[in-house]
Symmetry: C2
Subunit: 227 residues, 2 copies
DNA sequence: ACCCGTACTAACCGAGCGGTCGGTTCACTA
DNA sequence: TAGTGAACCGACCGCTCGGTTAGTACGGGT
């Protein structure tokens, strides 16, 4: 009778697809406005213009709704950042892309931010089981930094883990600032973060970094023309 | 009959002082363990070994209990950091002190951390009214940075606000990391943050900063001996 | 004409919430 | 010894929570 998934492989009705998408959408907005704690079935329901029971009809449980919303947000984020990283041509350029990608995505999707950050320290009841707890959260960034170290772009005595943590924190802070002050320019902030990264991690003439020029851009080892 | 404040100027019984202190104490621990959302009167009461009604007898409302706990934490933090800053002899040294002070305090009082950070984005019902929302949160740090700029210790093209935000974020991240991984060395992390700050903000030979030597330490303009 | 699955609603359930209330214990004082 | 107020308990109130259940409107297939 009710829902979501009694047989896990049944395919979804057109209506059901639409409702699920709508519910995921409003849930993201509700979390953005009231936080996880204030995100009740009641509020989700009336934001969608239906009843609590109707929400439970489409998702077996409240946890499932939130879970779906969270997954949607994470998928969008990873896709955005992943695409930017793929486009980068050097290891250090990938780190830059990661930084700009994260800040850029958050700036473009403010509603998604709270869904992510508040999920990080919610042990209560959100139902998000496999969220990265802190030790793993900046692991991908640390990996990129290590790659840049191996490529001799970064100082060899740089601690990748700590650098990733600091950099990640700076990104979070920039995003948080934007959330409470929408006039905050995330573009120049991203530039500042990248600049700080360059000054901290790059080896060689730091004045180049100050001018926003990376060593590779100045002297790429391969064929040299770019449009 | 019941309390907290029916006349705002009445003085507290010995018992009342003790109970209030105990309740503030357990509330901090409850918040640290369950978060604000999981911090109910019931849990506070049984953590203190008394009844809900007894808690309300000493504090008029749940908000008041949490408020008292929050104020206590903030007072401890500001006192600790303030003392360190006062001891610093140069503007740039004060910024360093601020960074090390925050990280040091958090590392020494893990239970207090969550009380602070979770208060920042809790619009629900915590009852903390005058908590600094983000635009103001790193203002004191930005002021210190501006002072260091005026003292010509920092680059003149440094953006104090953005730098403060990034630095603050890095501090937050270091603390958060320590919270989920108690083996994380906040000491070396603090060194790394200060090093990043020096490389980013200091003008002059950055290799000095790399060796942990600030320009003032190397050549203070005043009388030169220190014990 | 009948039925059946889809998509919902209104009403309800038990648990936990913040807070109130009447009453009890007990040290101290008049 | 009687009275008083501080300090506390147990029971209760109204409310919201996530979730359940019985029932219904309706479009399409037989």
């Amino acid at each position: 009778m009710n829902t979501g998934r009694q047989s896990p492989d049944r395919q979804l009705t057109f209506t059901e697809q639409a409702r699920r998408a709508q519910l995921v959408d409003v849930t993201i907005r509700v979390i953005a406005e009231y936080g996880y704690a204030g995100c009740s079935l009641q509020r989700i329901a009336e934001a969608a213009g239906i009843t609590k029971a109707a929400v439970i009809y489409h998702f077996a449980t409240k946890r499932a709704v939130i879970r779906a919303a969270y997954d949607t947000v994470i998928a969008g984020l990873t896709e955005h950042v992943g695409a930017l990283i793929t486009k980068a041509t050097t290891p250090a350029g990938q780190v830059d892309a990661y930084v700009r990608g994260l800040i850029g995505y958050m700036g473009a999707n403010p509603d998604h931010v709270r869904v992510i950050v508040e999920a990080l320290d919610d042990d209560h009841d959100t139902g998000i089981a496999d969220r990265p707890h802190s030790p793993e959260r900046w692991r991908p960034l640390a990996d990129l930094i290590n790659a840049a170290k191996s490529a001799k772009a970064y100082r060899q005595d740089l601690d990748a883990r700590i650098t990733a943590i600091m950099l990640g924190g700076a990104i979070d802070a920039v995003v948080a600032e934007f959330l409470t002050d929408r006039s905050f320019d995330t573009g120049t902030a991203a530039d500042a973060v990248v600049d700080m990264l360059h000054r901290t991690a790059l080896q060689g003439d730091p004045s180049m970094a100050a001018r926003g020029i990376t060593a590779w851009d100045a002297a790429p080892p391969g064929p040299a023309h770019r449009p």
